[in-house]
């Protein structure tokens, strides 16, 4: 539980932060994924660049209907923020419930997306919401849609010099995240987020594959007129859930159908 040696830097602005990034350097936000991984020596870093206190990353605003959440906004702040509560209650609710109070007061949804844990809640929700992450690097700015972000188990399309600056959440009509876990502070054994928007219902699952998993089969069935229950029965199709102390893969497949059904029931009229 003791990390290997690293240097710690705390830049004063986004430009300085971006300038410090590069190979061997990791962004540090809330540290509630990165620090445990360092302590367990699952990963190492030559230096950490702490962006948690950068004012430019700590804002929440509405930009032409799109909710823009700064990368250093914490779960607890998300839960309390009027704009988030109004325009994206599914994230506000997550902000008030995920993990435990310590994690919520330091951890950031943006960090969770960059960490890309397939068991994470925010990644599945982001995928279902169809968010885009705003990225800065020495080469300039770009946006990456959630669908193109998650490339493997805890792997993203972000590169060593990239800094996520914000999450952009498009407008939607209804969204619900259904998480199954045994005790309050634990990761999802399986989770499903259903979002109803202008182009239909989108569904994404947590902890059933190497990446947050878009349940396109469910979405297609709904488009073709299936009932939510019929569609939910397809939720495990194509998934490859982990098999661990929290449950065998078959149990997670079963849970995927249950939580999908429950999430759909919340967003379908």
């Amino acid at each position: 539980m003791i990390p290997a040696r690293f240097d710690y830097l705390r830049p004063d602005g986004v430009d300085e932060a971006v300038a410090l990034l590069g190979p061997g350097t990791r962004v540090l936000a809330g540290g509630h994924s990165l620090i445990p991984a360092l302590k367990l020596r699952q990963t190492t870093a030559a230096r950490l660049v702490d962006v948690g206190r950068l004012a430019a990353l700590r804002t929440v605003e509405l930009d032409a209907g799109v909710l823009v959440i700064g990368a250093a906004v914490t779960y607890a702040e998300l839960a309390a923020h009027p704009l988030v509560r109004r325009h994206c209650p599914v994230l506000a609710r997550l902000g008030g419930r995920v993990a435990d109070p310590q994690v919520r007061h330091r951890g950031t949804p943006a960090g969770a997306l960059a960490h890309a844990d397939p068991a994470g809640d925010a990644p599945a929700i982001a995928l279902a919401l169809g968010v885009e992450v705003a990225v800065r690097s020495a080469a300039g700015s770009r946006t990456v849609p959630a669908g193109a972000l998650f490339t493997g188990r805890r792997e993203t399309s972000l590169r060593a010099g990239d800094l996520v600056t914000a999450i952009r959440v498009p407008a939607h009509d209804a969204a619900w995240y259904e998480k199954f876990t045994r005790v309050s502070h634990m990761w999802a054994i399986a989770g499903a987020c259903a979002v109803r928007g202008p182009s239909g219902v989108r569904v994404a699952l947590a902890n059933v594959a190497a990446t947050p998993w878009r349940a396109t089969g469910v979405e297609g069935a709904l488009r073709d007129g299936a009932t939510p229950a019929e569609a939910a029965a397809l939720a495990a199709d194509g998934t490859d859930p982990p098999d661990d102390v929290h449950g065998p893969a078959a149990y997670r497949r079963h849970l995927a159908r249950v939580v999908t059904g429950r999430a759909l029931a919340r967003v379908t009229p």
Binding site: M1, I2, P3, A4, R5, L40, R41, D100, F180, R182, V183, S184, H185, M186, W187, D243, D244, V245, H246, G247, P248, A250, Y251, H254, L255, R257, V258
Partner: protein, 746 residues
């Protein structure tokens, strides 16, 4: 005695003012880290420390060959010997017996370097067969070839020769049960510091449950002069039995400090705590009951198989505690209990809160429910018919326990009333998957009846009072309770009483804080001393005032304690009493738990709608402290029933190695508790107290499992395994769920 007052130590504990072993780091302190085995079983082990020794900042890397330490003896608990071949070398000599066993110690100038260096230690070895389960132990390849088998205790039946004939009764049931291994998981893992002083003495700081014992053990194993060793127990962040064990790291770190002449600290990591801190429970049981069709249980045959892990130490006592309590709260004509204890290639076990009583209560209470169902009777009725009655007290069980009083049926009736059984029936009628389950338990506290505890009370010339106790706190609130016991007996405000504990220099003798014994023996010792000093004060006051002691007006004839004390000391006298008190008997708290649960058939999740606990721990010295003990213990019972299990794979590798893999409930998961209390003073100590620390974790698991079975019986479910919400344990699912996780051994 007085009522709800905040605990004296809380301000310090809650505001960051506590001082734990990890807060004590003398100048020049070195840090130890252990290289550990990654396999469960191997022979011809040779450890290579060259790379670790080469790292800058590393002061020493030592193996068994470098440190000449005595083996830790094998024991059956309470000083009874286990097979002598099963002793434990503090560092692996040639054979590895579990994952996490220490191979070498690294001592470095900071804990980071020590961890870096420990990671460089490698071991070469021949893989050996793994005894991964207790079932595989008997007849399996012996962990200690010289011992000939893996039996620590071969099958022994009590009462000797008992062989009840169950077949002659019309109703017979048998249940086979597992109480899975649990990890005690205190907030503060183990921390140990050995610091040589300029005076040539060695001070050991450790959050330990029995500092005087630790001192004797270190002197014995490392070869130190008892006069030159002091053990200090600073604030402790919980222990639950885990901190009474003699860990091999202790003599190793002590020897390093002596050899290097510098302070050496070892802070156990959370993963080390899960892998090689002791585990609790780990019991396998078969309970057969037989009796009449109208519900009278007449005979019981019970088999216990205890798994104590790789080395028999304190943990071997647990199956024997279980045996003592196997008859439960019932009057049964014939009982036979057969016990076997085995070693396995898993971490050693030790008593964990409840230690044998949760296992015993679980076996009997599951079996009684099975009996009621077999006879077509109400489980409450069957219990009421068979419980030991107040007019049978004191009641001697077939296993040798002497129950010391109480009204077991009253506890059950009170718990059922508090649970609101009518509402449960209404929920069931409305189609909800709910169930109600119950448990009546008797437990024993004050493990060794002959065990003593030291206490002393001094009134100083200025009237202040110092109480010294050999039982030191692990978070329970001894300061609050001891000052009140002494203040009440001396008739002085508790706030004037200073409590000294956890220091072998400041307290001349002590046994320790475990087995719910502290109030019974530690509290009684202080009560007796304070009572004696009160007599000294009254005699002195009477002398000062020139009246016979019996004619003093008020407590001290109008004099203050300080006035009397000043006069006594001015004349060369003193106000002091000390005692090593033994109660001479175990005491037997009892109670009833009722659980009301709702089961989500789609996921297997169990929600506690109600958890009722009625306990009788005799006289209550401090209601807040006792309620805290009950509720904390209840949550550990809920955890055992629903969530927690130390899981090993078929190769003896632990799969639950941190708080992400071991499902530990926290405050938001605690159900609302409904508690009730009966008071039957214990006859065997002057305070009339019984153990209050373990009731909840004994009563809750059977009540919860029985409740879930009640909810699921209509789906044909008749057996479940703890923890209920792990797939393969619960399986109350509509959809077909495979019964076992592929990676788990069981």
């Amino acid at each position: 005695m007085t009522g709800h007052e905040p605990r004296r130590e809380d301000a310090r504990l809650l505001n960051g003012g506590a001082r734990y072993t990890g807060d004590i780091r003398p100048d020049g302190c070195l840090h130890a880290a252990f290289a550990r085995s990654r396999v469960a079983s191997a022979t011809a082990v040779s450890v290579d420390v060259a790379a670790a020794r080469g790292l800058p900042g590393v002061v020493a890397v030592l193996t068994a060959a470098d440190l000449d330490l005595k083996d830790i003896p094998a024991t059956l608990g309470h000083g009874r010997p286990a097979p002598p071949a099963m002793t434990r070398p503090p560092l692996v000599r040639d054979r590895i017996r579990y994952v996490g066993e220490p191979l070498a110690v690294v001592v470095a100038t900071d804990p980071y370097l020590a961890a870096d260096a420990a990671a460089l230690v490698t071991a070469a070895y021949e893989p050996a067969p793994v005894v991964a389960t207790p079932a595989a132990a008997e007849g399996g390849p012996p962990l200690f070839p010289e011992a000939g088998s893996n039996l620590v205790l071969p099958a022994v039946t009590i009462p000797e020769g008992a062989d009840p004939d169950l077949d002659r009764w019309p109703v017979r049931v048998a249940v086979e049960l597992v109480s899975p291994r649990l990890a005690p998981t205190p907030m503060e893992p183990i921390s140990f510091l050995a610091a040589p002083g300029p005076d040539g003495r060695l001070t050991i700081y450790c959050g330990h449950q029995a500092p005087h014992r630790l001192k004797r053990q270190m002197c014995d194993l490392v070869g130190l002069d008892p006069a030159a060793v002091r053990v200090v127990v600073p604030d402790v962040g919980g222990a639950f039995g885990m901190k009474a064990q003699l860990y091999p790291e202790y003599p190793v770190v002590t020897a390093c400090a002596v050899r290097l002449g510098r302070p050496v600290a070892w802070d156990q990591t959370r993963t080390e705590q899960f892998e090689s801190g002791t585990h609790g429970r780990g019991a396998y049981e078969r309970v057969e009951l037989a009796g009449t069709a109208d519900g009278r249980i007449r005979a019981a045959r019970i088999e216990i198989l205890g798994d104590v892990g790789a080395y028999p130490h304190n943990g071997s006592a647990v199956p024997l505690f279980m045996r003592l309590m196997a008859q439960g709260a019932y009057d049964i004509d014939e009982v036979a209990v057969t016990t076997r204890i085995v070693v396995t290639n898993r971490a050693p076990t030790a008593p964990y809160r409840g230690a044998g009583r949760p296992e015993a209560a679980y076996g009997m209470e599951r079996a009684v429910d099975a009996y009621a169902h077999a006879a077509g009777l109400d489980p409450a009725q069957v219990r009421l018919l068979n419980l030991v009655r107040p007019d049978q007290m004191p009641f001697r069980t077939h296993t040798g326990a002497l129950y010391d009083g109480g009204d077991y049926a009253a506890a059950l009736r009170m718990a059922l009333d508090l649970a609101g059984t009518g509402e449960v029936e209404a929920w069931k009628a409305a189609g909800e998957t709910v169930g109600l389950g119950m448990c009546v338990y008797v437990e024993r506290s004050n493990g060794d009846p002959a065990g003593t505890e030291y206490g002393s009370v001094t009134v100083h010339p200025d009237g202040t009072v110092v109480a010294r106790s050999g039982s030191s706190a692990l978070g329970q609130g001894h300061e609050s309770v001891w000052s009140r016991v002494v203040g009440d007996a001396l008739r002085v405000p508790p706030s004037t009483v200073r409590v000294v504990q956890g220091d072998t220099d400041a307290v001349p003798a002590g046994t320790g804080s475990f087995a719910s014994r502290s109030a019974t023996v530690g509290g009684s010792a202080l009560h007796n001393c304070a009572t004696a000093v009160r007599e000294q004060l009254r005699d002195a006051a009477a002398k000062l005032l020139g009246v016979p002691p019996g004619e003093l007006a008020g407590e001290l004839g109008g004099l203050s304690v300080a006035e009397v004390a000043a006069a006594v000391y001015a004349e060369g006298g003193r106000l002091f009493a000390e005692q090593e008190f033994a109660s001479g008997a175990q005491n037997f708290p009892y109670g009833a738990c009722v659980a009301v649960v709702a089961v989500d058939l789609d996921t297997g999740l169990v929600t506690l709608r109600r958890l009722v606990a009625v306990d009788d721990c005799g006289v209550v010295l401090d209601p807040l402290v006792v309620e805290g003990q009950l509720e904390g213990s209840l949550l550990q019972g809920v955890a055992q029933a629903l969530f927690e299990e130390v899981v090993y794979d078929g190769e003896g590798r632990p799969l639950t190695t941190d708080l992400a893999t071991y499902t530990l409930p926290t405050a938001p998961d605690a159900p609302g508790y409904v508690t009730g209390r009966l008071v039957t003073p214990a006859p065997s100590n002057p305070l009339g107290v019984k153990g209050a620390g373990e009731a909840g974790c004994i009563g809750a698991p059977p009540a919860i499992v029985n409740a879930v079975l009640d909810a699921l019986r209509r789906y044909g479910v008749t057996d479940l395994r703890m923890p209920l919400t792990r797939p393969g344990c619960g399986r109350p699912f509509r959809a077909p769920v495979p019964p076992r996780c592929r990676r788990c051994s069981r």
